[in-house]
């Protein structure tokens, strides 16, 4: 029996229902999903993201390109979720678009607090490496309760951000999200922890897909899920670091 007890993950892109749907379709001649395939595709996507990011990083006056990148990225994300079979096209494009956005916001933060972007990059990949080690050693297991907890916490953060977004139209907002007070920093720290724990769910999703022999195109889909979590984690770390720097 599979040790991946739950079919639930917090990441909306990574639902095991997706595997069932794809399994129903033919695995055909493409072969099955493998962990090494996901690793290679993640490496390639991160490379594309860096290419996009370096462009807006070195041309911070192109803010329109960054906004376009975030909007097109969002559209591509939805296309990928609803049509995973074309993920091999949408995911590389998504990586470039998100790169354009991340390069710009990183530069904006960097101009305000020099050195912040490098710190955020190292912390993001440090967290990824550490959690990968914890997952592979069995120190952290994606049990049913773990998944439920992360799912609930991610949902709560999502709702909070949505309320804040709606309130921003009326010139208001949830103070704790942007505040650099102690509560604001504790909130940001909590969000970073939840974003990091979502990585464990992503690893579990990838392992499950490989064990179940999901179709090859699911490698791109799993890459997409990992990319979404990594981008979220990076932005939250950037936000936390800026709050900490502003108190100096």
């Amino acid at each position: 029996m599979s040790r991946h007890l739950s079919m639930r993950t917090a990441n909306p892109a990574l639902q095991s229902e997706t595997f069932r749907k794809s399994m129903a379709e033919s695995i055909s001649d493409q072969g099955a999903m493998t962990i090494s395939g996901v690793v290679n595709k993640t490496g390639l996507s991160l490379l594309l993201l860096v290419v996009g990011a370096s462009f807006t990083w070195s041309n911070p006056e192109l803010s329109g390109l960054a906004i376009m990148g975030s909007i097109v990225g969002l559209i591509l994300a939805f296309v990928t979720i609803f049509k995973p079979t074309i993920a091999y096209m949408t995911v590389p494009a998504y990586a470039i678009m998100q790169g354009l956005f991340l390069g710009f916001i990183s530069r904006v933060f960097e101009m305000q607090y020099p050195g912040i972007a490098v710190q955020a990059i190292f912390l993001t990949f440090g967290t990824l490496g550490s959690l990968l080690l914890a997952y592979s050693s069995g120190l952290i297991k994606a049990t049913e309760n773990f998944k439920l907890g992360v799912f609930a916490a991610t949902g709560a953060i999502g709702v909070l951000y949505l309320i804040n977004f709606i309130m921003s139209f009326f010139g208001s907002g949830i103070g704790v999200i942007h505040s650099n007070s102690t509560m604001g920093i504790i909130f940001s720290l909590g969000v970073v922890v939840i974003a990091a724990l979502n990585l464990v769910l992503d690893f579990d999703f990838i392992e499950e897909g490989a064990e179940m022999g999901a179709p090859k195109y699911m490698e791109w889909y799993a890459t997409f899920g990992l990319l979404v979590t990594l981008i979220w984690l990076y932005i939250e770390i950037l936000r936390l670091l800026s709050k900490l720097n502003s108190r100096r």
């Binding site: 710190q119 490496g129 080690l133 914890a134 592979s136 050693s137 120190l139």
Partner: protein, 43 residues
Amino acid sequence: MDYIFYLWLPIIILALASLLKLINKNKSNKKPWIRIEETKKNE
């Protein structure tokens, strides 16, 4: 101390704990180096 240190601390602790767990797992899987067997008389 710099706040960055406190952000790296849990990452480093988690990595070290995972490494320790991996080492212990490998230790328990290993066959013993020495095996003591009972010997019969005049063997």
